[in-house]
Symmetry: C3
């Protein structure tokens, strides 16, 4: 089987770019995950995974990552992205991501509600949440990104 990740951090950033993909790339760079290969996952924190906010990822490595992002080409538009990790008492956690044309606070609130529902349906107790969120007013081509990179 593929090795199960053992560490994680949360990150969020916004950026402008000259194309949609460059705006996304620039947001990844600001979020400290621009020089790796994101493998998108949905969306469980493995049991025992440790929070390590200072993780440095080797360039080019394959990094399982739960993320949400939004790109807009409408100048003046407000966009946001948020991600949250719900921590359980003694087993796996749940990761939720959200992005939309809303404020950072609305995106964060949405994440909180989503995590609460995710734990409720699993009959698990939500003991902590780690949330990262970002808001951006588009100049030309803007991107908001929020991510939970999983690592080893």
């Amino acid at each position: 089987m593929l090795p199960t990740p053992k560490k994680f951090f949360v990150t969020a950033a916004a950026a402008e770019g000259h194309s949609c993909l460059n705006a996304f790339d620039n947001a990844l760079l600001k979020a400290r995950i621009g020089n790796v290969n994101l493998l998108r996952v949905s969306s469980i924190l493995p049991p025992g995974a440790e929070f390590d906010p200072d993780l440095e990822l080797p360039p080019g490595s394959l990094v399982p990552t739960a993320y949400g992002s939004i790109v807009s080409e409408v100048p003046g538009e407000t966009i946001s992205a948020a991600v949250g990790v719900g921590i359980s008492e003694d087993t796996f956690g749940v990761i939720m991501e959200f992005s939309g044309k809303c404020t950072r606070e609305e995106a964060s609130k949405a994440i909180e509600k989503m995590l609460q529902e995710a734990f409720q349906v699993r009959g698990m107790k939500l003991v902590d949440m780690k949330i990262a969120a970002v808001e951006h007013t588009v100049e030309k081509v803007g991107c908001c990104l929020a991510a939970v990179p999983l690592w080893y």
Copy 2:
């Protein structure tokens, strides 16, 4: 290289949720893949992979999975998702997924046609199909999901 999967099963489920992502999460739980990290793949059954409908996946593990899903926020709307594995005589197989605003039967028929075309263009004989499909009438926020998890 990454290890090639050796087992698979097919699954489909529908669920409601308070947000689009929660509806998706709830459908994953009903489909028995809600507590793992899906790595989306497109879409080949490795040679020799065995069908194992009772597979239990460790929470948080990285699970290569071919899947289709649809979320609707239109009450009363009928949505469906289907997935199919086309089995060959003695080599790899092909996986197809479909989702849309249609019935379960239409989704299944679509999958059958898609598999037949996939085998025809490869000049391979289609000896069996394993199909999972689900239909749902949306109450508030509904999701249909059909998936082929690959495992070791």
Copy 3:
């Protein structure tokens, strides 16, 4: 951790199909990546990765791949996809993908600009670009695909 890829090639192809997913599948086959499981990545060429245009990928294997694709069901419409690998002097590279309703030349130009911006923001010198692009006029259901498979 997951093993970091060591080789790559670039490929692009277009195809028709009887469904959107079959058109995509047929384009993958023409691009020589139709019988593997693509794991979509975004989008860094690992340091030291070698260009190997004759790579043969084992059927069913998990292949980290950066790609862009577009499907159209509008007969007569022109669609294109392009992908580019920006090579640095002595470290990792950057991969960009693009698809749209435009010509092959426009898609290639877009990729060149995107790579230039990606290297500029990283303060890196772009010493070479490997670009693959394809254009297609839709008959019934058409797909253009451009991809950078990463391998070991």
